[in-house]
Symmetry: C2
Subunit: 137 residues, 2 copies
Amino acid sequence: MELSRQADYAIRAMMDLAEIPEGELSQTREIARRQEIPEKYLPTIVRTLARAGLIRTLRGSHGGISLARPASKITLRDVVEAIDGPVLLNRCEIRPGECGGVGDKNCSLHTFWERMVRDIEDQMDSIDFEYLVSGER
Amino acid sequence: MELSRQADYAIRAMMDLAEIPEGELSQTREIARRQEIPEKYLPTIVRTLARAGLIRTLRGSHGGISLARPASKITLRDVVEAIDGPVLLNRCEIRPGECGGVGDKNCSLHTFWERMVRDIEDQMDSIDFEYLVSGER
DNA sequence: CATGTTTGACATATAAATATCACTATCCTA
DNA sequence: TAGGATAGTGATATTTATATGTCAAACATG
């Protein structure tokens, strides 16, 4: 069970953006270099983040990208779900009622995963990028 | 963030085994059919579980597989880690100290992931296959 | 308004996970 | 001890994730 590499890259790019003063732009090439993300790969990730409304982009000379709203208003979960979709889908959850549980009884596994997903979501909801960057909230 | 399909299959196969009386054997083909796991794929997963010491196998006519120890002594974490390895590795954890945190300060992200991994591990430790199958502990 | 710079989009390449196949080793039973 | 049934193993195919490359669109500046 791992976070996808794309999500990891996205989180670090967002942290990089959260470091600079609000409203200023960074170039993806610089972010990639600082965060050790493949230079040619980051644009693909940035596009997804932009479509999800998490960052703003500006083309052209002196263009770049920036957070679409204050770092304190963007959570880890926002970023992870923008990239990977909902947390921890397993087949048991995708098709409720057909849990693969033997017989007709309720699937204990299903119940367990539901609780765990909720916990993970709650924890990721509680972490915003201002905290990640400053260590304070 | 998802569980790998292999781990999902492995968990359901183990639940299937936990349903039958201790010591009796099941055939992988039957397990695959009941749990809707690709028939040709399950042997690959079974092999990993056997090497991890979680199941016993017997070849030949009337052969099959069974849990290597009582279902109450096998946890979800045992199975998930046998298949996928340690939980939730992200690059931040793989290379401590090089968190991609900007500057030299401690990486808040790192701290967060550590806590979350511990929580997930604890939850998966607390669920054994007897509970999963019977709903009781 | 021409030029250089930077992102957007899409096509392609590579790597990893998932799934299948063919063949071998082992075991039970007659 | 021969035959059939079952798992073991490694090779191969397929699908998905990751990464790169190419060119177009937008923008600032002179």
